[in-house]
Homo-oligomer: 543 residues x 2
């Protein structure tokens, strides 16, 4: 169509966030609670200035637009600055989860072809161990080197020669700006390549009253690592609104309670496991949550008792659903129009579900043949999503992750209610969600069958009062073998992260299979429906 | 840069709004207060269905994507439906202000090449008068024909044959979707061609806590005509949030008060003149504003007394600045981070200014040579803007309305404060340039109407041999008042700088106004074209 007039060309670029914050909220505070117990304060003026210096430092290293700049770090202001510095010179920020096991760390840094890595001193042992295996990283920067260290360049020292006289690299809004790997259900981790446009649209949606409700008066403390889907986008949302941003490298409940009280936190967000720890601490010590108004709970389903605990204290719970592939927010349970007319029980029932889709996110459920299922609040099926901050293609994949109509299969099983409310009825088939982290059952199984004497193995998640789920490994012994739990455990220890180790191992004569010969997790779960770990029961009894 | 992965392709199209509302807020109410005193209710399910039927009806007429479909109507649900129907089939919605003069009505409908016009019966005399002059309109539809009418087809009858089995026309997010003419300061009205992308991004920004703060629990009543920059975008924002939308074709204060009370309106928006009428009515009758929480005031500066009146009743005032060319919101005065620490006087001072720019809107002031001025809260200059919902090129113009760096000159004169707060001091064409310094005509006028006995005042620049221009103040006395020049001068002396004092004060029976009710400085200047100050020569001698 011939254009007879026009609104402006205006690529949605992430750097507009820090430009806006520097202009409109220059004194807006960013508070860091460091792991060593100290607290520091900075503001958007400083972050913007240091980000420009870092962009200069990266260019001095020969880093070019599109190159990946990795971080291995907890939440703090230098980490925040490094995000804007890396993206500001056109780089792609790759946030690595330091808790991955070595094979994964090796795979993703090499697969991403990271050229620079910035890391916290606390992860120095990991970095030293991995250096021989990381083949593309040319430069290591330590965010917080100890005084007198002879190791890698410190972040402050690295920026020292640069004056911040720098113009951000401009470009298309569909350019990549971030890379975040997700532990897949099968095979290697897969990289989600965020774009400037997707990140900005997600942040614009996130600040809305019916999502995170962030304003210039908000004080927001994400208790979500910055390497988990960019701390759920909160470091993008804060400069957009001028909300005071609290970053904590230390998740211990007493430190958190200090922050809630001293910084007058109004908004927070985290996985259920984090809140379980906080609640246990507060119940024990009598501490309080101060000015907290809204808490967003996501990553896995929020237990009803947790929702009730917050509601009893006047805190609104936003029960969210999302995934790394969705930037990450897909739905959230903001109070609907008839909220004030609902009984307490009706409100509880509403919040216990995962809420409604944000504008720009479309959801549907389909059966195994791909037929769209009704939104009747009963039928459950595979949950599919689409929208501008939903993945199209994983990093370096040859094919799209979506079907012809752009639907992305989330791997979750859900029911959609007539009012659009989402209810996740089953976890994704294979993944065990432990404390907000994902454990790949297939990798556990693969490791287990590598143990001499194990013929077949299946890992499933068993409900756990503290961790949501912990893995149960069910094994079939090879003919004639008398392999025991201890031997399998010893074998696994050499192949998976320690926190992936199953809480129990059970032996069975055979595992259930589908007609096509595939292991049926569903039937296995049915068989172990009432299974509980021995020590989990004891833990429940303590409360 | 080679794309190694991607987020989804997802054009930001306006029709996603009604799709979202139909899916997530199908029962969300749209209430219409009609001019005949009746009130009707519908919901997004019905609006979406009827919009699909209208799209079919337009296609049956041979209307094609890109064609202009005009409306000449007040605020009501049929008008709302027609917006989505016109845009849904790829058309461009042209909202015409029925109160324009015949010459303007003739010019803009012909210039827009409107092919269909939908109108309210109340404007039938205008339509009948204009039909011989409108050369491109092929089909007239009356939204609300009286029973037994033999005139143009009624809206309901027109849709009757169609079943709503229709898929919206898809396309690029930069396609046009709306056209709105702004009465130019000189020459013919100019058309602003809104795009799908600009409309959606503006709506996403508008619902944020620090703009209109709209949620599913909100009840929003725009007292802004739908032909004024799309009722400030509220009919786009409501389906995004599921806010209950109240449309009123009747602006009489008693009817408004009924709506505020009966529908439990929480959010409203309008120009100062509307609120003056409301306040006068409420003061006289003792009626109340019910649940009103936030009122947005824009279009022209909100007087301090009006801001105080709302604040005294617990209503938050969002003082906004914008223009048709900006979709329309540029800035709004949401409470800053230190709001609770501000004194009442400081809060008043803050709200009396026009607030801070929304994320994605950039502002600057420049002097007559184009040099960027400091944000010092003192220097005033020409206000320029850029952003994704700011105009680039007027409809059918050969050249952009922006400079090489995409800055659009707003025609306003403003000061920007160090915290980013905007303070509009004048229209650039109205500013009085005296000896190289600028005198704000608006501030002079505001000071003058504060003098007892002055009903209305206008200040214009008169050529002066030494100072280039000096102010002439033209006043209308209040009924029964015999206020004299000396009294006004004495009053002004206490409120403006000495060198701002007008060189002469003239009294008139009435001041000229435009079709939209704004004071017409242009007509006033024409009237005083040959005016000269008696003592201008003598004054030259004084120095």
């Amino acid at each position: 169509m011939h254009k007879l007039g026009a609104m402006q060309d205006w690529p949605l670029r992430v750097m507009r966030l820090v430009d806006h914050a520097e202009r409109e909220h220059a004194d807006g505070e960013i508070v860091t609670a460091w792991a060593d117990g100290t607290t520091t304060r900075t503001n958007w003026r400083n972050v913007a200035h240091d980000a420009r210096r870092m962009a200069q430092a990266l260019e001095a290293l020969g880093i070019r637009p599109g190159d990946r700049v990795a971080t291995l770090a907890m939440n703090h202001s230098h980490h925040l600055t490094s995000w804007y510095g890396a993206i500001g010179m056109g780089g792609v920020l790759h946030t690595i989860n330091p808790r991955l096991f070595d094979e994964q760390l090796e795979y993703i840094a090499n697969h991403a072809e990271d050229r620079v890595l910035l890391y916290d001193h606390v992860w120095a042992p990991v970095v030293e161990r991995m250096k021989p295996k990381w083949t593309t990283i040319e430069k290591y920067i330590c965010f917080d080197p100890p005084a007198g260290s002879n190791g890698d360049t410190g972040f402050i020292d690295w920026l020292e020669p640069f004056d911040g006289n720098y113009q951000w690299v401009d470009g298309d809004e569909r350019d990549p700006c971030g890379l975040c790997y997700t532990s897949g259900t099968t095979g290697n981790p897969k990289g989600v390549l965020y774009e400037h446009r997707s990140s900005l649209l997600h942040a614009m949606a996130e600040i809305a009253p019916d999502c995170f409700d962030l304003s210039a008066r908000s004080v927001v403390l994400p208790i979500v690592p910055m390497f988990h889907a960019n701390a759920w986008g909160i470091p993008w949302a804060a400069p957009m609104t001028g909300s005071k941003l609290i970053l904590s490298a230390d998740y211990r409940p007493d430190r958190m309670c200090d922050l809630f009280r001293d910084e007058k936190v109004t908004h927070s967000a985290g996985v259920p496991t984090i809140w379980l720890g906080m609640i246990e601490h507060i119940e024990r010590t009598g501490e309080e949550l101060g000015d907290l108004k809204i808490v967003t709970i996501g990553g896995s389903a929020a237990p009803r008792a947790m929702i009730k605990w917050f509601r009893d204290r006047g805190v609104q719970v936003g029960h969210a659903w999302g995934m790394t592939e969705m930037s990450p927010i897909g739905t959230i349970g903001a109070p609907p129009s008839n909220w004030d007319k609902m009984s307490d029980a009706e409100q509880m029932d509403f919040v216990a579900k995962q809420g409604r889709s944000l504008f720009n996110v479309e959801l549907r459920t389909v059966d195994d043949d791909g037929h769209v299922l009704p939104r009747d609040g009963e039928t459950s099926g595979r949950l599919q999503a689409r929208g501008p901050w939903v993945i199209k293609r994983y990093f370096k994949f040859e094919e799209d992750a979506t079907d012809a109509d752009q639907w992305f299969d989330t791997g979750d099983v859900a029911t959609i209610h007539p009012d659009g409310t989402l209810q996740i009825t089953d976890r994704s088939k294979d993944v065990i969600k432990s404390g907000g982290e994902w454990i790949s059952s297939i990798e556990l199984e693969n490791a287990a069958v590598g143990c001499p004497g194990v013929a077949e193995a299946a890992a499933i998640g068993i409900p756990h009062p503290k961790w949501d789920e912990r893995p149960l490994l069910v094994c079939v012994r090879a003919n004639g073998s008398d392999v025991c739990e201890g031997q399998i455990r010893e074998h696994l220890t050499a192949h998976v992260a320690r926190w992936w180790l199953p809480d129990a191992i059970e032996f069975v004569e055979e595992l259930p299979h589908t007609a096509t010969g595939k292991l049926s997790k569903k039937m296995l779960r049915d068989r172990f429906r009432d299974y509980r770990f021995a020590d989990a029961v004891a833990m429940t009894g303590r409360d």
